[in-house]
Amino acid sequence: MASSLENLEAQLEMFIENVRQIHIIVSDFQPQSQNVLNQKLQAMVHGLQEVDKLKAQVQDVHVPLEVFDYIDQGRNPQLYTKDCIEKALAKNEQVKGKIDAYRKFKANMLLELSRSFPTELSKYRALRSDE
């Protein structure tokens, strides 16, 4: 997976570099540059072909749509990753807190119930072998 992404990245970088060079050629065009320009245009088609070939290798890559919003706004998409990680950690801590609280509550409740209703609780325990 990593290598296919790296391939795609390298291919896109080469494509962008080619387009940048075309930009330089056409921004102050010289008649002798026509052949080079033609080569660059063919290289551009070739680059698109290569990117098209690589799409099969990255079919299973899922990108959250929100990341596109970050990029469209000219923001660093790593900020999205950072936000996600921070949110996940906060939620993880919150849920762990809840689970711990319920465990304590259960233990206390069983204790109190065994004091108040010892017979019923022993029946309950007998039915619930895991308690």
Binding site: R20, Q49, I71, K82, A88, K96, I99
Partner: protein, 241 residues
């Protein structure tokens, strides 16, 4: 008074039940399927619970992983966490893609280059990408000369800060596989070096100008009567420099 108290108790007691204000006598659909009772009619009607006590409904199935475990460690994302939590990330997109030429920090909607638009209006695809024929290439025969001013301005690459200089150089290396026949492009592509060179040149020009000014001043001072006094007052030109 007593009656009121009883009424109160009657009123509130069902609510304190875990099943809410519903009476257990009223037949209803039991969603849990654990409350089973047998109602006996006749001389002595009675309700006999025939199933398990409703608190004994089956607990939810145990899942392998819950929120009680450190999910960051479980999925091996500790490295990513420490990577992102420690440093302060730069806000701009260009800091994430430093090798990308052009203005990329501007919102995509402004120049219709947003990724969202690619999803909403996918481009025409499904056709084979074929190399351009010679007749098609004829369409790309350009007139010599620079681009008109308005196009040059919009296409101008942004002046990168010093911080990005190193990265830009790296980018050049990455795309450095230029054939030797493209020396002209390489020359044009090496704009960072050109800029550097220009800067140096400007710096040298400034030095020369300053030298010339100094010499002029020296000559003036030699001819002026104040020269001998050595008052050391700044001339307007000195002051401005």
């Amino acid at each position: 008074m007593m009656g009121d108290q009883f009424r109160k108790v009657e009123q509130y007691s069902p609510k304190s039940s875990p099943r809410g204000a519903r009476s257990p006598v009223v037949s209803r659909q039991d969603s849990s399927g654990t409350l089973k009772t047998t109602i006996l009619l006749g001389k002595n009607p009675s309700i006999v619970p025939s199933g398990p006590f409703y608190l004994l409904k089956e607990p939810p199935g145990e899942s392998e992983i819950t929120g009680a475990t450190n999910l960051m460690a479980y999925y091996g994302l500790e490295h990513s966490y420490s990577k992102f939590s420690g440093k302060k990330l730069k806000e701009q997109l260009s800091s994430f893609l430093p090798t990308l030429p052009g203005v990329i920090d501007a919102p995509g909607q402004s120049d219709n280059s947003s990724l969202r638009s690619v999803i909403e209006k996918p481009p025409v695809g499904g056709k084979d990408l074929l190399p351009l024929t010679s007749s098609q290439l004829e369409g790309f025969r350009l007139h010599p000369g620079p681009l008109p001013e308005q196009y040059r301005y919009t296409n101008a690459t942004p002046i990168k800060k010093h911080k990005n200089k190193h990265k830009k150089h790296k980018h050049k290396e990455a795309g450095g596989g230029l054939p030797s026949t493209e020396a002209a492009i390489a020359e044009a592509g090496g704009d960072t070096h050109e800029k550097k060179h220009k800067k140096q040149k400007r710096h040298e020009d400034d030095k020369e100008r300053k030298k010339r000014k100094k010499e002029k001043k020296r000559k003036k001072q030699k001819h002026s009567p104040e020269h001998s006094t050595g008052a050391g007052g700044l001339t307007p030109s000195q002051h401005s420099s």
